[in-house]
C-alpha cells in the first residue's frame, strides 16, 4: 500500500513539475514579448520625431539640388544642409553619402560628434557600409552601432539612413545619415513586473549597461553560437550562469534593413521558477511522508481488524481439514466477518454431525457396507450372489446370563462381539448383524473374493481361538458354536424404503443357521460346498446322521477339526 502511495505521488510529481515549468515559461515568454513590444514602441515614439526630421530634410529642394550636382564640394553640401536644418540639437551626428555610397567628408564640428575619436570610427564604418546601403535603400532604415568612447564606456548609437530621392526621375541622389546616442536603462524597467536585464546584440558583440562583465561574457558566447549562419526574427534560449537558470529572449530590431541586424536581448532569471519548483518538490515529499504514515497506520489498523479474523478463519479451516470437527471460532464482530464466522461454525457443526453419522453408520453396519451405502452403490433391491454365510452364537447364553445384571451382560457381549467382529473384518468378511449372542457374517457380499469359502473357515477358526484367549484373559468364559453354509443367495438392502439394511436371504442362510444350532461348544460345522472348496486345507471329518429342520436327510456336512 505504501508502495502504491509513493508510486502515485512520484507519478503525480513528474507531470506536475513539467506542467509548472512549461506554464512558467509560457508566461515568461508572453511577458517578454509584451515587454519587447513596449520597448520597441517606446523607441519608435522617441525616434519618430527625429525620423520625421530626417525625412523632411531629405525632401529639401536645396539639398536635392546640391546632391544632384556632381561637381559640388562636400563642404558646400554641408553648408547648404546647415541652412536647411532646423532644430537639430543634442549629440546628433549628420553625414551624407553620394549616390554611389561614398562618404562626403566634413570637418565641421557642429554637426558631428563632439569626440573626434568616435567620429573617426563612425566615419570608417560608414565608409564600409556606404556602397551596399546606397544600392539597397528605397526607404528610411534603422541600424545600431556601438562605439567605445574609452576603455570603460561604450556608447550605443542608433543610425537612421534616409534616401534623398529625386521624385522627378526616381533616382537616388544620395543618403542622409543621422546618428545619435540612445540609452537602454530606465526605458521600460519600471513598468515591468519581472525584473530582467536588457542589452543589444549586433556585429557579434553584446552591449549592455545592465549586465556584469561575467554575465556579458557568458551571454556573448551563448548567443554567438545561436547567431552563426542564420538570423532569425525572434527566439528564446535557456542559459545557465553559476548554476542559476536564465531565459534569454531575442528579437531583431531592424530586420529588413541594409544595416547589420541588431537584436534586442532580454535576460530573465528563472530563480522564481526554480524556487517554486523546489517548493513544489518539498511539498510533494512532505505529502509523501505524511501519506505514507497514514498508509502505515491504516495498514496496521486493517491488519488488525481484517486480516486477523481472516487468518483465524483460515487456521480454523486447516484444523477442520485435519479432522478436528470440534473447531468453533469465537464471534467477536457484528459485521460481515461475524456472519462469516457464524457460518463457518455452523458448517463445522454440520461436518461434525456428518462425521458422527458416518462413524455411527460404520458402527451400526459393517464398514464396507457403510461405505457402499454412502457412495450409493447399494440400492433397494437385491442381486443373486454366491456367498458363504457364517453363524456364530454362544452356547448356553441364556442360562449363563440369567443372573447377570444387564450392564454386565452388555459389557460381556460387547467385549465378545468386538473381538469377533474384528476377526471377521480381518478375514475379509462383512458382519451382517448381531442378534443377541449371535453374530452373522458374510463372505462374498457385497464384494466377493475367490477364496471366500476358505476365508469363512479361517475366520471360524480364528474366532474360536480368539474366544479361547478371551476366556483366558477376560472376566468371562464362554463357548461358541459356528455354522457355515455356501451357495446362491439373494443379497441386498431389505426392508422398507425409509428403513432397511443390507442382508442376505435364501436356503443357504437357513442352512448356516441350522448348522450353527447343531454345532456343539467349540464346534465348527460346514456344508458340503464349503468343504469342497477347502480342498482339504483344514482337517475335517464328515458328519453322519445330520438331522436339520427343514432340510432333507441327505444333507452332507463336515466338522472342522481344531487343534487345541
Amino acid at each position: 500500500m505504501m508502495a502504491v502511495v509513493l508510486g502515485t505521488l512520484v507519478i503525480g510529481l513528474i507531470p506536475t513539475h513539467r506542467s509548472v515549468t512549461r506554464n512558467y515559461r509560457m508566461l515568461l515568454e508572453r511577458q517578454a514579448r509584451k515587454e519587447m513590444d513596449s520597448f520597441f514602441q517606446l523607441q519608435e515614439s522617441r525616434l519618430a520625431t527625429i525620423r520625421q526630421k530626417c525625412i523632411d530634410l531629405s525632401h529639401s529642394v536645396r539639398l536635392l539640388a546640391a546632391m544632384s550636382e556632381l561637381h559640388l564640394e562636400d563642404e558646400d553640401i554641408y553648408a547648404i544642409a546647415e541652412g536647411e536644418i532646423r532644430n537639430i540639437d543634442g549629440d546628433r551626428f549628420l553625414r551624407f553619402l553620394d549616390s554611389s555610397g561614398k562618404l562626403l567628408v566634413s570637418n565641421d564640428s557642429w554637426i558631428g560628434m563632439t569626440q573626434p575619436y568616435a567620429r573617426t570610427i563612425f566615419e570608417s564604418r560608414l565608409k564600409k557600409l556606404g556602397p551596399s546601403l546606397a544600392s539597397n535603400l528605397d526607404a528610411q532604415q534603422m541600424g545600431y552601432t556601438t562605439i567605445s568612447l574609452d576603455e570603460s564606456k561604450t556608447q550605443l548609437y542608433a543610425v537612421i539612413a534616409t534616401p534623398i530621392l529625386d521624385n522627378a526621375t526616381s533616382l537616388l541622389r544620395g543618403v542622409l545619415i543621422m546618428g545619435f546616442p540612445i540609452e537602454l536603462e530606465g526605458t521600460i524597467k519600471n513598468q515591468s513586473h519581472t525584473p530582467f536585464r536588457i542589452g543589444i546584440w549586433m556585429e557579434n558583440a553584446l552591449y549592455s549597461d545592465d549586465l556584469s562583465p561575467e554575465e556579458q561574457n557568458l551571454l556573448t558566447s551563448a548567443l554567438s553560437h545561436q547567431f552563426t549562419g542564420h538570423h532569425p526574427l525572434e527566439f528564446s534560449l535557456p542559459l545557465s550562469i553559476h548554476g542559476h537558470g536564465f531565459l534569454v529572449f531575442a528579437r531583431a530590431l531592424n530586420q529588413l534593413s541594409s544595416f547589420p541586424t541588431a537584436y534586442q536581448i532580454q535576460l530573465y532569471s528563472l530563480e522564481e521558477l526554480e524556487h517554486q519548483l523546489r517548493e513544489l518538490a518539498s511539498l510533494f515529499i512532505l505529502l509523501a511522508i505524511v501519506s505514507s504514515g497514514v498508509a502505515l497506520v491504516l495498514g496496521l489498523f486493517f491488519s488488525r481488524t481484517l486480516s486477523r479474523p481472516i487468518h483465524n478463519l483460515v487456521k480454523g479451516t486447516q484444523k477442520v481439514q485435519s479432522g478436528d470437527f470440534s473447531t468453533q471460532l469465537p464471534i467477536l464482530r457484528d459485521d460481515e466477518l461475524g456472519t462469516l464466522t457464524r457460518s463457518f461454525n455452523q458448517m463445522v457443526e454440520g461436518l461434525a454431525l456428518k462425521e458422527k453419522f458416518h462413524s455411527i453408520l460404520q458402527v451400526v453396519t459393517d464398514r464396507k457396507i457403510a461405505e457402499q451405502l454412502i457412495s450409493g452403490a447399494l440400492m433397494l433391491g437385491g442381486e443373486k450372489r454366491v456367498v458363504s454365510i457364517l453363524f456364530c452364537d454362544i452356547r448356553g447364553f441364556t442360562r449363563k446370563t440369567e443372573k447377570m445384571p444387564p450392564e454386565e451382560v452388555i459389557q460381556m457381549l460387547n467385549e465378545h462381539m468386538t473381538a469377533l467382529a474384528h476377526v471377521v473384518e480381518k478375514q475379509g468378511g462383512v458382519v451382517d448383524k448381531f442378534v443377541g449372542d449371535l453374530i452373522m457374517a458374510l463372505f462374498g457380499a457385497p464384494q466377493s473374493h475367490e477364496d471366500d469359502a476358505v476365508r469363512s473357515v479361517a475366520c471360524a477358526l480364528e474366532m474360536m481361538s480368539e474366544r479361547k484367549r478371551l476366556n483366558r484373559d477376560s472376566r468371562y468364559s464362554l463357548e461358541m458354536g459356528i455354522g457355515i453354509a455356501r451357495g446362491e443367495v439373494v443379497a441386498g438392502c431389505m426392508g422398507s424404503e425409509q428403513r432397511n439394511n443390507y442382508t442376505v436371504l435364501g436356503d443357504k442362510v437357513n442352512l448356516a443357521s441350522r448348522l450353527c444350532g447343531q454345532a456343539g461348544p467349540g464346534e465348527i460345522l460346514v456344508d458340503e460346498p464349503t468343504w469342497l472348496e477347502l480342498n482339504q486345507k483344514y482337517r475335517s471329518e464328515p458328519l453322519t446322521d445330520l438331522k436339520l429342520k427343514g432340510f432333507s436327510d441327505s444333507m452332507k456336512a463336515h466338522r472342522i477339526l481344531i487343534d487345541s
Binding site: 529642394v61 539640388a65 521624385n167 522627378a168
Partner: protein, 210 residues
C-alpha cells in the same frame, strides 16, 4: 562689257559662293514624359492638375570650331509657368543673358548650384523683376525652385551657335550650317548625349537620327 554688270553678277553670286549652307534634320528618340503627382497636397490653394507631365525635349547641336560668333548677345527667357519651367530645356550660346520671368500667380525662387553658374534669384512674384543672369561658361545648368520641389529646368550653355530644341515628338532641323567636319550631338539627359560625326558639304541635306 560694262564693269558694273560684272560687279553686280559677282555680288549676286557671292552669297552663294561664300555661304554654302548645309541642313541637318532628323528625329531623336525622347524619353517618356515624367510627372510628379504629389504636388497638389503640397501647395495648398493651387488648382488641381496645375502641372501636367513634362515631356523632356532634347537639344541637338553641332560641335566643332566655328568662326567667331556673329550673333549679337541676345536675351533668352526661362519662364515659370503653371508651376513648371518654360521651356524645360533652354540651349543658349556662351555669353547669352537669360531672364526668368514669373508668369504664375505665386512666388517662385529659382536657383542653381551648378558649377557652371551658381545663382539664387530669391523669392519674387509676377510683378517683380529679378536679376538677369549671363552665362559665360559652357556646361549644364540645373534649375530648381526652392518653393516648388518638383520644378526642374535645364539651361544648356553651348559654345556652338548651331543648336535647336526638338519638338515634342523629337523632330529637329538645323539650317545654315557651314561645310566642314563636325560632331553632331543630341543632349537627351545628363547621362545620355549621343553623338555622330558629320562631314558637311555645301548645299547638303543630311538626315541624322538619334
Amino acid at each position: 562689257m560694262p564693269t558694273w554688270r560684272i560687279i553686280t553678277a559677282i555680288g549676286l553670286l557671292t552669297p552663294f559662293l561664300l555661304h554654302a549652307e548645309a541642313t541637318i534634320e532628323g528625329s531623336v528618340t525622347l524619353p517618356k514624359a515624367q510627372g510628379t503627382s504629389d504636388s497638389t497636397s503640397r501647395y495648398p490653394g493651387q488648382p488641381e492638375g496645375s502641372h501636367a507631365a513634362v515631356q523632356p525635349l532634347a537639344v541637338v547641336y553641332l560641335e566643332g570650331s566655328f568662326s567667331a560668333p556673329t550673333v549679337k548677345p541676345q536675351i533668352a527667357h526661362m519662364a515659370q509657368k503653371n508651376l513648371q519651367f518654360d521651356p524645360y530645356i533652354l540651349p543658349i550660346q556662351v555669353g547669352t543673358t537669360v531672364d526668368f520671368p514669373n508668369e504664375d500667380d505665386t512666388y517662385h525662387n529659382v536657383f542653381s548650384y551648378s558649377r557652371v553658374k551658381k545663382f539664387d534669384l530669391g523669392r519674387y512674384t509676377k510683378k517683380d523683376k529679378p536679376a538677369i543672369q549671363t552665362f559665360d561658361k559652357p556646361g549644364v545648368v540645373k534649375l530648381f525652385c526652392e518653393i516648388h520641389g518638383h520644378m526642374r529646368g535645364i539651361i544648356l550653355v553651348l559654345e556652338s551657335p548651331h543648336f535647336t530644341t526638338t519638338d515634342s515628338k523629337g523632330k529637329y532641323r538645323l539650317e545654315h550650317l557651314p561645310a566642314g567636319t563636325y560632331t553632331l550631338k543630341a543632349w537627351i539627359s545628363e547621362r545620355s548625349v549621343p553623338e555622330k560625326k558629320v562631314i558637311l558639304s555645301d548645299g547638303q541635306k543630311l538626315q541624322v537620327d538619334f
